[in-house]
Structures are given as structure tokens and as C-alpha cells.
Symmetry: D2
Subunit: 149 residues, 4 copies
Amino acid sequence: MSNEQSSQQAQRLAEQITEVLYAQDRASRALGIRIEETRPGYARATMVVRPDMTNGHRIAHGGLVFTLADTAFAFACNSHNESNVAASASIDFLAPSHEGDELTAVATELWRSGRSGIYEITVTNQKGARIALFRGRSARIAGQVISVD
Amino acid sequence: MSNEQSSQQAQRLAEQITEVLYAQDRASRALGIRIEETRPGYARATMVVRPDMTNGHRIAHGGLVFTLADTAFAFACNSHNESNVAASASIDFLAPSHEGDELTAVATELWRSGRSGIYEITVTNQKGARIALFRGRSARIAGQVISVD
Amino acid sequence: MSNEQSSQQAQRLAEQITEVLYAQDRASRALGIRIEETRPGYARATMVVRPDMTNGHRIAHGGLVFTLADTAFAFACNSHNESNVAASASIDFLAPSHEGDELTAVATELWRSGRSGIYEITVTNQKGARIALFRGRSARIAGQVISVD
Amino acid sequence: MSNEQSSQQAQRLAEQITEVLYAQDRASRALGIRIEETRPGYARATMVVRPDMTNGHRIAHGGLVFTLADTAFAFACNSHNESNVAASASIDFLAPSHEGDELTAVATELWRSGRSGIYEITVTNQKGARIALFRGRSARIAGQVISVD
């Protein structure tokens, strides 16, 4: 198999995994999160801040901004078809977001080795302003997302 | 005013703040999060894992576990009536939780000085097993939660 | 073997491991770090801030405060005689320390399961004031610290 | 003043600050850390792993890898001539390094606003392999590094 064929296969696999995971991911769907794009080690997800996503300071609840980033992280770290869960994550909140804002989380793989991976997720709003920086560490668990072997 | 009176006043203030913040916190209410107890620098919140809170691995979405912890953090760090928001937070996921689990997040103040505070939040399930450890750094913003001056 | 005997054995093992690791730990010794006490899952280490440990702001270099905490973490997470290294760590700097200050780092085990562990390390000065809060995640590697099997 | 002149001035200032801070930074000098380059919001530092920098597992002490990264962070976040200290930092250790390895830490500014900044520091060895990823949050304190106003 050529490099190009192998790369196309990896891409098709990433897309199939996205479909399977998303169909089961009731939480992300309930929040209106959409997976706009997946590639091996990469995912881009969007979410519109609904009125029921704001907190006591009348800004988007930080937990839901985290959830959007965490979803992008999940789709990126499962894209190789080894089941992975989040072991830990940290987030820096840079700017508030408000009702109606459309947030985009882009997850990229910084490093992957053995059972662990590290992913960087940046959350921006519709103006391109950065809302949050998220870093997640994944841990491989038994099994594949979809059976291919 | 005696120490006891001052302590009672701080407690009353913490409870009033909780009421005001919770009434505005549409996100926490939409997720069924309840604030069970607040004291100065302390908050305890609960959430039942609903079917629409599970992810592609059929466990509670880590983002929503984070959201519960973040809510407890918010009520603890605003309890002194200085408005505070989360500057950053980190979470370690220790064990998965499942549909129907009742999670409790307990937030305690580790340190507070000038414009910053550090809070420790532990999330447990109905059996007392630890689900996640969360640490948050708060940043004071202008204003009070409720006007008392 | 009774619980008491088993507990005494675990304590003796922790102390033997400390001796072996410390003899090899040239970095900690070069910094004057002393391991004052070890128990299973616990370690206490001290360091005096020397003139050559201060930075451009004339306070103790944060990296060396981290190093003291990291050393306590290492002795705590290796105390069970499974070789462990740090996978990640985070630190909050609460207050500066100065030349001549005697710092103490106390490491306690928050959680341990499979190949991972989480440890909390608090650094205080000679007046008992907290200087830094450190949290570390350990990863088990192959081998034991000392051969007992 | 043209953009180019302003940019040249910022660069000159960053270099002057580096000189002043480095002259006072006894800790970094004692560890053989060299500041190879500074620009506004950027610093590159190197350190050779000496025999007295290894730990009980015979690899470079994680605390000293952190210290190298923290030094690059310090020079990057002070480069604008507003005095800054580290408020918090986190590090992921990706691979061990050994006696004789030459480590390079590159610090870049991800974000800066008001009193806070976030910096990303990558530590590599002489083969270009990544050893550690570090993220630091700075806090502005009173004063300038060098008096220019």
C-alpha cells in the first residue's frame, strides 16, 4: 500500500470513528456540539452558547466551554481507533463568552507514545478571539472504537 | 461585633450569595446541579448523571463532571461577596461514572490572597468512591455579588 | 503475618528504598535536599535556600522550589518499591522565599491505581507559611527500586 | 517613530533586560543555564545535564528540567520590562534525558492581557527530541526590570 493509500485509509477510519462515537455521545449532542472535521490526531468541534449555558455572572459557564474542548479532545485522541479516555486536563480561561456566541474548539495532537497522548485544544469565538486554552492527557484503554482487526 | 456574630454574618452572606447566583445560573440548573451547602470558602454541589450526560464510551462525559466541580468552585470562591471568576483549572479523572450515579463535589478554599484564590474540589459518587480531583484558581473581578456596602 | 508485622515491613521497605534512591540522587544531594522522613506513600524533604538558588528578582528560583517538591514526590511514589517516574506535575506559587529560608516539602499520596498515582505536595517555610502547592502524577515503569522478590 | 524603529527599540530593551536579569540570576548561572536569545515575548535557554543533575533513576532530575523551562519562561515574560513572576506552571515529561545531554528550552508567549500572561515552553535535547512541555502563567508585580520611564 502506498503512503497516499495508507493516509487515505487513516482518514476514512478517522471519519468512521467520528460517526460511531458521535452517534453514542448523547452529552455532546444534547449540548448542540457538532464535529465539523476529524483527521488522524485532529478534531474541530463547534457549539453555540445557548441561554441555558450561562452562569451566575451572565457569561458562558466555564464547565461548558471545557466540555466543548473536551469533546474535540475525545474525537482527536480516539481517531487512531485505539480507545482512549481523558486522564487529566487543564484549562486557562482567557476571555468570557456570551449567549449567542459560536465557539470553535480545535484539537491537535502534540505527542503520542505508548499508552499516553497529549493534546492541545484552542477555543475561539466567531470573531476569532481566543476564549480558552485546554491541554489534555489521554490514557489508552482496552479495545478499539470500531472493529477492524 | 463579637467573633460569633461576625461568623454568623459571614455565613448568612454566603447563603444569600448562593441564592442570588443560583437563581441566575441557568447552566447549573439545566444540568440538575443542586447547591446543598455553602459556607465562607466552601460549597457542596450534587448532580445525577442523566442519560443525556453520557459520551461515546457510555460513561459520564468528563466535561460534565468538570462542570459539576466548576460549579462548586464558583459558589465557594464567590462566597465572600467579592465577584470572582475562574482563571484556570485542572482535573484528574480517577474513575468513570455512569448513568444514574449521584455525584457530589465538595469545594474547599486552600488559599486566598489579593486577587487570587486556589480551591480544591473532590468529586465522589454515591458509594463515596472518588471520581475526580479538581483544582481551580480564581481571579477577582470588579464588583460584589450582592450589594451590601 | 499480622497487620502490624505487614505494616512494619512496609515501613522498613520504604526506609530502605529511601536510602538506595538517595545515595544515587546526585541532584538532590547537590542542592542540599535532605529526606527527613519516608513512609509508604509519604515523604518529607527539606532544603535551605542558598545564595546560588536565587533568581533575577532576588527570590528563590521557582524551579528549585519545584525541585524540592519533586524530590519529595519521587520518594513518596517510589516508597512501595515499584519504580515510578513523574508523568506530569503542576505547581502554584503562593509566596516568595528568600536566601536562608528553610523550606519543607511534604508529599502525600492522594490516589494510586494500576500504573498511575496522584500526589499532593505542600511546600512551607520555617515559619509554617505556605510557599507552593504541587500536584504530581506518577507513571509506573518496569522494575523495582530494590530487589526483594 | 516608525513601526520598524519601535520594533528595534523593543528588541534592544528585551536584550538589556536579559543582561540585567541574568547578572542577578545566580540560580540559573550556577546550573550552567545560558540565555541564547531573547525577543519580546520569547526566550531560548540551554543547559547541559551535568552528573550532579541526575536522580535516583540515573536520569536528569525532573526538577532541573523544569528549572530550565522556568528560566526561559522568566526571561520571556519579563522581556516587555514589566516585572513578572510565575503564578503557576505545569509540565508534562515526555522522555528522560541523561548526563551529557544538551537541553534547549524555547519559550513563546501565547497570550498576555492585563496582569496575566500565558507562555508555552518546549524542552528538546540535542537530537531535537522533545523532553518536556511546560506551560506557565505569569503575574505582573509592581515595578520595571530596568528603569526607562
